[in-house]
Amino acid sequence: MTALLQSFESLERRPLRTFLTALGTALGIATIVALLAVAGGAQASATKFLSLGGSDLGLFQRDAADPTTSVLPLALVSELRRTRGVQAATPLVLLVGEIHRSPGAIAFGAYPDSFVTDRYVFLQGHMLTGDRQVAVGSGLAAQLHLHVGDTLSIAHRELSVSGIYHMGVPEQDDGAVIAFGLAQALAGKQGEATTIAVSLAPTVSRSQGVETIRRRFPGLLILGDGVSAPRAGVSGVLLSRLALVLAVIALVIGGVGVMNTMLMAVTERRTEFALLAAVGWSGPQIALRVMAEGVLTSLIGAALGLLLGVIGAQLLVGLLGAGEYVAPNVTAWDLGRALLVGVLLGVLGGMYPAWRAARLSPAKVLAER
């Protein structure tokens, strides 16, 4: 306790050095927070995406890295409809980047009378009735100033706006629905679908439904929750993996930074540690003091890093132009993890300097003039 108090006082009395050391940690933590927030946002977006039309499950081709590359045979739909516990199943084709005036918007190819479109509330007009029509989400309509009767170009096809709907899910309200057959033609997926949305019977739980379908169709990736959702979404997969890689890199860089700063501090203060050894401090006592300073500094850095990270996440998404796909999502768990990382950085980054400080030869150091 005394060592901790003295470490705190020592930091307090060297404000500039403490700040600069903490800043190194803060940059590492800020990077981690920003990446976690972006990955969390991507995950949240993918979860909403899957709630299309209130379906319980989304079925994809296993190992498909991107919803648009998932390919499922249409024959599977009838097989699913015959599966116990499945109330309804309908195929979907997803087109990403094909609405040229809003590249981030998704065009959903769906049957207009399927259960996924039943819950759309139309603010203007009605659901599409043919291949030359498109139903537009309220967000996209507002963004592009579209009204019923206007024209929207999707994959170079000029389609007439039949209605403007609201669903309450940003990805769908910011997208549009076109005829399933047209979407197949545009995607080059004749006889195939990107995904199949499944609605389970009210008496069947989600886990029971997943288990039943998994046993019967082992080649499918069944997504029913937000944790597994990013595995199928291109942004989710790439961002979560990228975030993990970058977070590890940030961790390593942060750790090396803390260690480097701590080593410099130990080198600068070698006389101090030699003196402590000379007046009877043991190696572990000296190491504990160095470690305590490292952890305290890292905690200060972590607190600063949390703030920078939250701001940085917004900036990162803005700079990458990914605001339409991903809303940074900073959770208490992200902040807690970042704080934990801060402590770990202090411990890991301080270990080698602490060992060095504890092994200094007081005879050599104190004899220096």
Binding site: S10, A278, G280, W281, S282, L366, R369
Partner: protein
């Protein structure tokens, strides 16, 4: 607490093949105040470090109150419980107050905070610095810093005090005050004190003197040396070349 008996037998120490101390033997009785003289680089600091357990000798024996210091693999406890160091460059920690610096050996010994505060206050009072307890070293004069360092050396209630050029950067008045303080410490605590110094004025306060020449230590009776004139009194200063032996 009585001072330590120091027995050095056939001590030899070398750095990178250079023999600094060669076959040195001497002893110091409990409670003696002994001067260690010799030119710069003669091995005074090395001898004090070996006696204090900061380094291990190449050969020979050092016994302090029966403790084989030469053979101690980890001398932490010995340094904490037996020895008190005073260095030429005081080595006070700049971020700590005078009182906190004095407490450092007690922190290592896990002395409770209240007791540490009390003892540090008493020790600073003993070196006439109780009014500067909360001062940082940067606001103290050279003489005051060295007196804090002496108080710190006493904090562990050592039986053996090793002082290495403690007045090396002080003026005559401050130097005399340090010698008087060390003599008073010996009287009050009964500690054995070995002081390495160039300053001739030290000889007026010691029981005897050991001289290092060419790596060897020889007895040099204090009475054989002409005592220097008494120093002028005044405030502590830093800028005086000491009178050398």
């Amino acid at each position: 607490m009585p001072g330590s008996r120091v027995e050095v037998e056939r001590l030899t120490h070398a750095f990178d093949g250079n023999v600094v101390l060669r076959d040195v033997s001497f002893s110091i009785e409990p409670g003696e105040l002994v001067a260690l003289t010799g030119p710069s680089g003669s091995g005074k600091t090395t001898l004090l470090q070996l006696l204090g357990g900061l380094d291990r000798p190449t050969a020979g024996r050092i016994m302090v109150d029966g403790i084989p210091v030469h053979a101690l693999r980890h001398a932490t406890r010995y340094r904490r419980e037996v020895v008190g160091f005073v260095f030429q460059l005081h080595h006070l920690l700049p971020a700590l107050t005078a009182q906190e610096n004095v407490q450092l050996p007690m922190v290592a010994a896990h002395v409770p905070r209240r007791e540490r505060d009390l003892r540090a206050h008493e020790l600073l009072d003993e070196v006439d610095l109780s009014g500067r307890a909360r001062s940082l070293p940067s606001s103290l004069s050279g003489g005051e810093r060295q007196r804090v360092a002496i108080a710190r050396a006493l904090a562990g209630q050592p039986r053996l005090i090793l002082a290495d050029e403690p007045t090396g950067s002080l003026d005559a008045a401050a130097t005399e005050r340090i010698w008087q303080l060390l003599a008073a410490v010996r009287e009050r605590h009964g500690s054995t004190i070995l002081v390495a110094s160039h300053d001739a004025s030290l000889l007026r306060h010691v029981d005897r003197s050991l001289a290092i020449r060419g790596g060897a230590v020889c007895e040099q009776p204090a009475s054989n040396l002409a005592p220097p004139p008494p120093p002028a009194t005044g405030p502590d200063h830093h800028d005086r070349a000491p009178a050398e032996l």
